[in-house]
């Protein structure tokens, strides 16, 4: 069995009276593509933000590659090897596509690479993500599909061990979806462990080696995609008791 790369224990986050994530235990194994699914408002994005250090957990611990990271600075967690994409794209609109990726290549890696090496790496990353010919365009001129790819490219430029993808397929047409799935598969084949939040269940079934279901902030169950998607509790969570 593969080694555990990241493990969360008793992870909780409350916003005032609302408990968005409650007492979640989660293990991510090295090299896998783990799918995180659940209905809207289940706490999937919050869980991502807790792992990436964008939000501080109210309780619980996160261990990454043997080190405790919960409550650390976001930039420090990024340099330790966890990169995340934003569900709603957030490009640096005043910078070119290449410069967007350069930020990740400059600051997301440890030790800091020399200028030229970072630039080369950023260009390679753009090529992998199919954005090379747009390198000098202002990032605001990209389409939504392009911007989602830019999110991935930027995160990838930090050379993460663990990549958190938050709904990178949302809003894409079938052709763009297939291309992005191919990209994600390639990234994983290159040795990067991936956790993805995704509503496209067909894509999740084809891509993920394991699924975790989150409902109302709690971990409902985990297992192989086929077993999880056929489970009556999952169908009930998505569609209501009448369909289970």
């Amino acid at each position: 069995m593969a080694q555990t790369l990241l493990s969360a224990r008793g992870l909780s986050r409350r916003f005032g009276g609302l408990i968005a994530v409650r007492d979640v235990d989660l293990d991510v194994r090295e090299g896998e593509i783990l799918g995180l699914i659940g209905p809207n408002g289940a706490g999937k994005s919050t869980l991502f933000k807790l792992i990436a250090g964008i939000l501080r957990p109210s309780a619980g611990s996160v261990t990454f590659a043997g080190r405790s990271i919960a409550g650390g600075r976001t930039s420090a967690i990024c340099r330790a090897g966890i990169a995340s994409t934003h569900q709603i794209v957030r490009p640096f609109r005043n910078l070119s596509v290449l410069d967007n990726v350069l930020i990740g290549a400059f600051f997301g890696r440890r030790p800091r690479p020399p200028h030229e090496a970072a630039r080369r790496f950023a260009l390679e990353t753009l090529e992998r993500c199919g954005l090379l010919e747009r390198a000098d365009s202002p990032s605001r001129t990209l389409t939504l599909a392009g911007l989602k790819r830019l999110e991935i490219a930027r995160a990838l430029a930090t050379e993460p061990k663990l990549l958190l993808l938050d709904e990178v397929l949302a809003g894409l047409n079938p052709t763009e979806t297939d291309a992005t799935l191919e990209l994600v598969r390639g990234i994983n084949a290159g040795g990067t462990t991936i956790v993805m939040v995704e509503h496209n269940l067909r894509a999740v079934r084809g891509l993920c080696s394991r699924l975790v279901v989150l409902v109302e902030g709690r971990l409902l169950l985990e297992g192989s995609p086929d077993a999880v998607l056929a489970d009556p509790r999952v169908v009930e969570a998505y569609l209501g008791a009448a369909h289970a």
Partner: protein, 307 residues
């Protein structure tokens, strides 16, 4: 790139030779001095306000601390030139103290907090009479010659613009550009945004502090209302925006327009300068956010297309 270097060298040569070319044009030298001094101040403000997008309305605090440091040390028997470094260092140190609480605030909230910081600093200077002389201010005894003052301002301005050019082309400049665009996204890509903002503030404050020393050697009299005044802080915001926010040469250009215009208006129509700058600021923000430098670059591109 090469042509740009040529132009910079040419400009520097003219600037260096100005006191020799015009030995009796005292007024010209005086205006050139002010352009360089205010240009350096605006360039310093722009490191934080333009490059990093953290708009401060309290930067007079750093000018004031620099000016008072210089004046107090001169009273202790220091030569004025030797006070430049302590003036900058003390302003930078002060910036670290105020950066820690204010950088917890974002955007407009940060800007509002800096107004408070600037005013609080002025009030402390006004009431700490034993150190600052209070409202009656401090007077320096002897001024260096106009040419010496001019060269001091020129050195300061070259240093400030050089630092800005270096920052813009460096990795640090990338971090600041990312922070200006989206601070949270920059943080998730490994940029320690608080550290980078603090460094930008310290560099900015250092330049303003040294400028305070040059200010003191020129005016020979400093008071809380002159160096710590809110109107100085406003001028520091207006000049870079008019010239070109977040560019290397924009603040200097803005300072040149600001200084020359103000000299003319103050001589002929009292207080009209405030109205003119208000209108100018509105026009720039509405029609050409890239400032005068943006207009200039646009014209140059159009001219190239035609030829």
């Amino acid at each position: 790139m090469r042509r740009r270097r040529l132009w910079s060298l040419l400009a520097l040569a003219v600037a260096l030779a100005l006191p020799l070319l015009a030995p009796h044009a005292e007024y010209l030298l005086d205006v050139a001095f002010l352009v360089l001094l205010y240009g350096a101040m605006a360039t310093g403000w722009n490191v934080l306000g333009g490059f990093a997008g953290q708009v401060s309305f309290g930067h007079a605090a750093f000018l004031g601390i620099g000016a008072y440091t210089a004046a107090i040390l001169v009273a202790q028997g220091w030569p004025i030139w030797a006070t430049a470094l302590p003036a900058g260092a003390l302003a930078a140190l002060y910036s670290l103290i105020i950066g820690w609480p204010t950088f917890r605030l974002r955007g407009p909230y940060f800007s509002i907090a800096t107004i408070g910081i600037g005013e609080a600093t002025r009030l402390v200077a006004l009431n700490w009479t034993s150190l600052t002389g209070g409202a009656s201010g401090l007077t320096l005894s002897a001024a260096p010659s106009p040419a010496t003052q001019y060269y001091a301002a020129l050195a300061l301005c070259c240093g400030a613009v050089g630092a800005a050019a270096w920052i813009q082309s460096s990795r640090f400049g990338y971090a600041l550009a990312a922070i200006r665009s989206d601070t949270d996204a920059a943080e998730t890509l490994g940029v320690d945004t608080t550290l980078a903002k603090t460094q930008a503030l310290a560099i900015s404050a250092f330049i303003l502090g040294v400028a305070g020393c040059v200010y003191a050697m020129h005016y020979l009299f400093i008071s809380p209302d002159s160096v710590f005044g809110f109107s100085t802080s406003i001028a520091l915001v207006v000049m870079p925006i008019v010239g070109g926010l977040g560019t290397v040469l924009g603040p200097l250009l803005g300072a040149a327009v600001f200084t020359v215009l103000r000299e003319q208006l103050e001589a002929n129509f009292q207080n009209l300068d405030l109205l003119v700058f208000g209108v100018l600021l509105c026009a720039i923000v509405l029609f050409e956010p890239a400032g005068l430098l943006g207009i200039f670059n646009g014209l140059r591109q159009r001219w190239r297309k035609h030829s």
